[in-house]
C-alpha cells in the first residue's frame, strides 16, 4: 500500500475550513436526532426503574397497567431468552433486571401505550415487590472482604485466591527493578488520589424507535455512535438474528463513548414484538440518563515515584482500584494502567490494577477511558516532585518524555509521536509567560491516548456528473462528514462541494465499529482513500480503453486521467466528469469499496497549561487562561480539530472542578438533574487557546491521528497543579469544588 505518498505535495483541500455539509440542517432545526423520528401507528414506551441500590425482585404485577385502555404491552425479564453468558448476559441483565436490581435506576419493566402520558401512567401502575439488600457504592468499601456480594463468582482467572468477593479482575505488569530505581532517586514520594464517577453528559438523551414482528425481522432508528453495535447487542439480548435487524442511526446529539453500547435500546423492539409489531418509541429523561446510562468509573489510586535532582524519573508504580458498576469488564482499569506512565520513558515500572463491582450503573466508555483518572494521579505526583526539586514542569517532561523508538510503559516501542513537540509548543506559547497576580497559579500536565483503528467498511460511488458519494458507517458526531469529504475531494481531485458523505444504515455496508477510539476521521478516512483508489483505477481503465493503451500507462491527477508519460501516447486528459458521463456505455457504474481493520492509528499526546485564580474566602476556582497543545498528525479540517481540543478541555475542567456522582447513604443517586449535576456553562470558562501540532502519522495516507480523546486527560491534574501553585494546597480528590478547596487551604494552615 502506498503510504503518505501525497503528503509531499501541496494540498488543495486538506487543511482548509469549508462549511460543514450538514451545517444548514443543523442551524435550521431540520436535522433529525433520536427523538425527532416518528412512524405511523407508533406506540410510546416508559420504563419502571428500581428505587433501590440492591434488592431482590420478589414479584412484578402489571395487571393494573394492562387493564388501562390503550396499554398494549409490558415486558419484564421473563420475556427475554435465557441461557446467555458473558458480556451478552450482562447486557441483558442491564437492559432488564433479573433476580436482583443491582443499582438505583436499574430497569425492571417496560410498557408501551398509545400515548406518552398513558405510558407513564401505566408504568406507575406496575407494582414491583422488592426485598431490599445491603448495598455498596464506594470503590474502597466494595473492595472489603465483608462487603455485600453483588455477583457471586464474578472473579476471573486473574484474581488471587482469597480476594474480596466483589473483585472481578486483577491486572499486573511492569519491568525493571523498582527497588534499584528508587535507590537511584534523590527524592521518592507517594500519594493517594481519588476521582468520582462523572457522566459523559451528552445533551441528547438516548432515544430510539424500534419495530419488530413476530418473525424476528425488525428495524430501528436510534441515536448511537455505532449502528452495528446496536444491531449486534440488541440481537444478542433478544435472541434474534442480527442480519434481520436493520438499524439506521439518527443525527447524534453527543456521545463521548456513552453511546457505543446499549442501555434501553432492546426494549422498544421487545415491546413492539409483543404489541403485534407496532413501532415503539422510547426516549429517556435526563434523570434516567444520569441514573442508568454510561457514567465512567470512580477510582482510588496510589502512586509512587522516584526522581533524581536533575529531573530524571528512576522508578514508578501505581496501584489502581476502579469500580465499573455491577458487572465485570466495564471499568477502564486496564486502560488506566496502560496510560498511567505512557508519557514517560522510565526503566523501572510496576502497575497493579483491581476491578471491583459496586451497586452503581454499568460504566460505559467516556473519552479516553481510564486515562484522565490515571493522569490525575500521576501528573499530580510528577508536579509535586518538580516543585520539591525546584524543576520546571515542562523541562522535566521533555527530559523524561517518550519519543520514537522508546519502549512504551505498556510494552511496545513507539513509532513517530509528538509529545515533545506539544511540550515545546506549550513552552513557546505566550500563556506560559503571562504574568500572574496574587492567588493565581499555573499548572501543566500532559496526556495520552492510544487511538484506535477498528473494523471499517466504506464505499465510494462516482455519479453520472462526476461528483462522488461516500457511504460511511461512523456517525458524524463532530464534523467527520466534513473531514471525510475534504479527504475525498483531495484524493479524487474534485471540489469539496461535489462530494456527499452519507452515514448509512446497517444494511448498506459491512460491519463498522462505532465512532469511538478517535477513529472516524482516521479509519473511515483511510478506508475512503482505499475505496477511492479502486474507483480511480477503474476510471484510468476506462480512459485507457478509449485511448486504446495499456491501463498501466494512465495516471490520475487533478480529477482527470492522463497519459502517464510521453511513451503512453499523446492524449488530452479525460476528466472525471467526462468519464462518469459515459460510464453507462463503457462498462457500467464506477465505484470503489474497502473493508479492513486498519492498524497504524498513531497515538496522540497533548500538553495543557492552565492559569487559575482561587478565592481564598470561598475556595472558588476561576479558570483565567487555558491552553491546549496536541498532536493531530495532520489536521484535515482545523476548526473541528480545535473544537475537539476545546470540548475535551471543557469536559476535563468540569470533571476537575464540579462534576461527580453523589450517592446517599441509601445508595440512591442524589444529583439526577443538570441543576445538581452541574456541567460547565459558558460563564464558567474563558476562551480556550489551542495549538495544533502536526507530526504526521505514517499509518494514514494523509498523516491523520485521532484527536477526539486525549484532550480530556490533562485538565484534571493541570488544574490541581495550578490550584497548588496558587494556594500551596494539594488536592488529591476530585471534584475540587469550593468546599473541598477551602478545606484544603484551611488544613494547610
Amino acid at each position: 500500500m502506498a503510504k503518505d505518498e501525497i503528503s509531499g505535495k501541496e494540498f488543495k483541500w486538506i487543511g482548509t475550513t469549508p462549511d460543514r455539509p450538514d451545517g444548514l440542517d443543523k442551524v435550521t432545526g431540520r436535522a433529525r436526532y433520536g427523538a425527532d423520528f416518528n412512524l405511523p401507528n407508533m406506540l410510546y414506551a416508559a420504563v419502571v426503574r428500581s428505587p433501590h441500590a440492591h434488592a431482590r425482585i420478589v414479584k412484578i404485577d402489571a395487571s393494573k397497567a394492562l387493564a388501562l385502555k390503550g396499554v398494549k404491552a409490558v415486558v419484564t425479564r421473563a420475556d427475554l431468552p435465557t441461557g446467555l453468558t458473558g458480556e451478552d448476559l450482562y447486557l441483558q441483565e442491564n437492559t432488564l433486571a433479573g433476580e436482583k436490581a443491582l443499582y438505583d435506576g436499574h430497569a425492571v419493566a417496560a410498557v408501551a401505550a398509545t400515548s406518552q402520558l398513558l405510558a407513564h401512567d401505566a408504568a406507575q401502575l406496575i407494582e414491583v415487590e422488592y426485598e431490599v439488600l445491603p448495598h455498596v457504592t464506594d470503590v474502597d468499601k466494595a473492595m472489603a472482604k465483608d462487603a455485600p456480594v453483588i455477583l457471586p463468582g464474578c472473579a476471573d482467572h486473574s484474581v488471587p485466591e482469597g480476594s474480596a468477593p466483589n473483585v472481578a479482575r486483577m491486572i499486573e505488569f511492569g519491568r525493571g527493578d523498582l527497588a534499584a530505581g528508587y535507590a537511584e532517586a534523590d527524592l521518592v514520594r507517594e500519594g493517594h488520589y481519588t476521582t468520582e464517577a462523572t457522566h459523559q453528559g451528552y445533551i441528547e438523551p438516548h432515544a430510539a424507535v424500534g419495530q419488530m414482528g413476530s418473525d424476528g425481522k425488525g428495524e430501528m432508528w436510534v441515536c448511537t455512535q455505532g449502528q452495528w453495535y446496536i444491531r449486534k447487542m440488541c440481537s444478542a439480548v433478544l435472541g434474534t438474528d442480527p442480519a434481520q435487524l436493520r438499524v439506521t442511526p439518527s443525527e447524534i446529539g453527543g456521545g463521548f463513548g456513552g453511546k457505543t453500547t446499549i442501555f434501553m435500546e432492546p426494549l422498544p423492539l421487545a415491546l413492539s414484538k409483543k404489541a403485534g409489531g407496532r413501532p415503539v418509541k422510547l426516549v429517556m429523561s435526563r434523570a434516567e440518563v444520569l441514573r442508568a446510562t454510561g457514567p465512567t468509573a470512580s477510582a482510588s489510586m496510589d502512586v509512587k515515584m522516584g526522581m533524581k535532582r536533575d529531573g530524571t524519573i528512576t522508578g514508578a508504580e501505581v496501584n489502581f482500584r476502579m469500580q465499573g458498576g455491577p458487572f465485570p469488564g466495564a471499568s477502564p482499569v486496564g486502560e488506566a494502567l496502560s496510560c498511567a506512565f505512557a508519557c514517560y520513558d522510565i526503566a523501572n515500572l510496576n502497575h497493579v490494577g483491581w476491578e471491583v463491582l459496586a451497586n452503581r450503573p454499568k460504566c460505559a466508555a467516556y473519552r479516553a477511558p481510564g486515562s484522565p483518572m490515571a493522569a490525575y494521579a500521576v501528573e499530580s505526583l510528577v508536579d509535586e516532585l518538580c516543585r520539591e526539586l525546584d524543576l520546571d514542569p515542562i523541562e522535566v517532561r521533555l527530559k523524561n518524555g517518550v519519543k520514537e523508538g522508546v519502549r512504551a510503559s505498556y510494552g511496545p516501542k513507539f513509532k513517530k509521536i509528538g509529545l515533545a513537540e506539544t511540550l515545546e509548543a506549550a513552552k513557546a506559547h505566550p500563556n506560559y509567560a503571562a504574568p500572574l497576580g496574587p492567588n493565581q497559579g499555573r499548572g501543566v500536565a500532559s496526556g495520552f491516548w492510544f487511538n484506535h483503528g477498528g473494523e471499517t467498511s466504506v464505499s465510494l460511488a462516482v455519479s453520472e456528473d462526476g461528483t462522488a458519494q461516500v457511504s460511511v458507517g461512523t456517525p458524524d458526531i463532530g464534523g467527520s462528514r466534513a473531514s471525510i469529504a475534504l479527504m475525498a475531494a483531495e484524493t479524487l481531485g474534485i471540489a469539496y462541494e461535489n462530494v456527499r458523505v452519507n452515514i448509512v444504515e446497517t444494511g448498506a455496508l459491512g460491519v463498522n465499529e462505532p465512532t469511538h477510539g478517535s477513529r472516524a476521521t482516521f479509519a473511515s478516512g483511510k478506508a475512503m482513500w482505499e475505496a477511492a483508489q479502486g474507483a480511480i483505477k477503474e476510471m484510468c481503465k476506462r480512459a485507457a480503453q478509449k485511448w486504446d493503451i495499456d491501463p498501466e500507462a494512465v495516471t490520475w491527477k487533478d480529477g482527470a486521467a492522463w497519459p502517464a508519460g510521453d511513451n503512453a501516447g499523446k492524449f488530452e486528459p479525460l476528466s472525471i466528469k467526462e468519464i462518469a458521463g459515459e460510464m453507462g456505455k463503457t462498462g457500467g457504474p464506477i465505484s470503489g469499496h474497502h473493508e479492513s481493520t486498519p492498524s497504524g492509528a498513531g497515538p496522540s499526546f497533548g500538553t495543557h497549561v492552565v492559569d487559575v485564580e482561587v478565592d481564598p474566602e470561598t475556595g472558588r476556582v476561576t479558570v483565567l487562561r487555558y491552553l491546549v497543545t496536541q498532536d493531530a498528525g495532520r489536521a484535515i479540517h482545523p476548526q473541528y480539530v480545535e473544537g475537539q481540543y476545546q470540548g475535551g478541555a471543557a469536559q476535563g475542567i468540569g470533571w476537575a472542578l464540579n462534576e461527580g456522582y453523589i450517592y446517599g447513604e441509601d445508595g440512591r443517586l442524589q444529583n439526577t438533574v443538570f441543576l445538581d449535576y452541574r456541567v460547565p456553562v459558558a460563564s464558567d470558562l474563558p476562551m480556550i487557546d489551542t495549538v495544533i501540532v502536526e507530526v504526521p502519522n505514517p499509518g494514514h495516507p494523509f498523516g491523520v491521528r485521532g484527536v477526539g480523546e486525549t484532550g480530556i486527560t490533562p485538565p484534571l491534574p493541570a488544574i490541581a497543579n495550578a490550584i497548588h501553585a496558587a494556594t500551596g494546597a494539594r488536592l488529591r480528590a476530585l471534584p475540587m469544588n469550593p468546599p473541598a478547596v477551602l478545606a484544603a487551604i484551611k488544613a494547610k494552615g
Binding site: 462549511d19 453527543g254 435526563r286 476545546q646 475535551g648 443538570f674 460547565p680
Partner: protein, 159 residues
C-alpha cells in the same frame, strides 16, 4: 383528562392543537405541530435546548405548559431564517464551527438572537452570562461565543 383546544401563532402562522393539560409547550410544538427543532435535553429548565420566544420573551419551552400558549405569539428555530436567507447568527455558527453535534444549536441560536435584540453590542462576558442557561457539552463554548460576537458585529454594520 380531557384535552384543551389551543390557538396560537407560531413563526407567523396561525396554528391550533389539542393539548393535554400536563403537556409542556415543548411537547406540543414537537408532537402536535411537528416542529422538532426545539430539543429536550433535560425537561427541567437547565439546558436551554428547548429555547423559544413566547410573546417576545425567551423561555424554556419545557417549563411552559402547552395550554399557556393560548393566544400567544411563538417563534422557534424553524422561523429564524427568512426563507432561504439565513439569519446572520445561523451563518456565523456554521462559519465558526460553533457546533459539533448540533443538538444544542437551535437553543443557542434562539437565545443569542434574543440577546442581540436587547443588546446589539454585548461584551464577551455579557454573552457568556446570557448564554449560561444553554448547555453545550461538545464545544467548550469558545467558538459559540466568537460566532455570536461576529454576528453581532455584522448586524451592527448592516444596521
Amino acid at each position: 383528562m380531557s384535552k384543551i383546544h389551543v390557538q396560537a401563532t407560531v413563526n407567523g402562522d396561525s396554528v391550533e392543537f389539542l393539548a393535554d393539560p400536563r403537556e409542556t409547550l415543548l411537547d406540543c410544538l414537537r408532537d402536535h405541530l411537528d416542529l422538532t427543532g426545539a430539543k429536550e435535553g433535560c425537561g427541567t429548565g437547565d439546558c436551554g435546548a428547548c429555547s423559544v420566544m413566547l410573546n417576545g420573551r425567551l423561555v424554556s419551552s419545557c417549563l411552559v405548559l402547552g395550554v399557556e400558549a393560548e393566544g400567544a405569539e411563538i417563534s422557534t428555530i424553524e422561523g429564524m431564517a427568512d426563507g432561504n436567507e439565513l439569519h446572520p447568527l445561523q451563518r456565523k455558527f456554521i462559519e465558526h464551527a460553533a457546533l459539533q453535534c448540533g443538538f444544542c444549536t437551535p437553543g443557542f441560536l434562539v437565545a443569542a438572537k434574543a440577546l442581540l435584540e436587547k443588546n446589539p453590542d454585548p461584551s464577551e462576558s455579557e454573552i457568556r452570562f446570557w448564554l449560561a442557561g444553554n448547555l453545550c457539552r461538545c464545544t467548550g463554548y469558545d467558538k459559540i461565543v466568537r460566532a455570536v460576537q461576529d454576528a453581532a458585529a455584522e448586524m451592527r454594520g448592516a444596521a
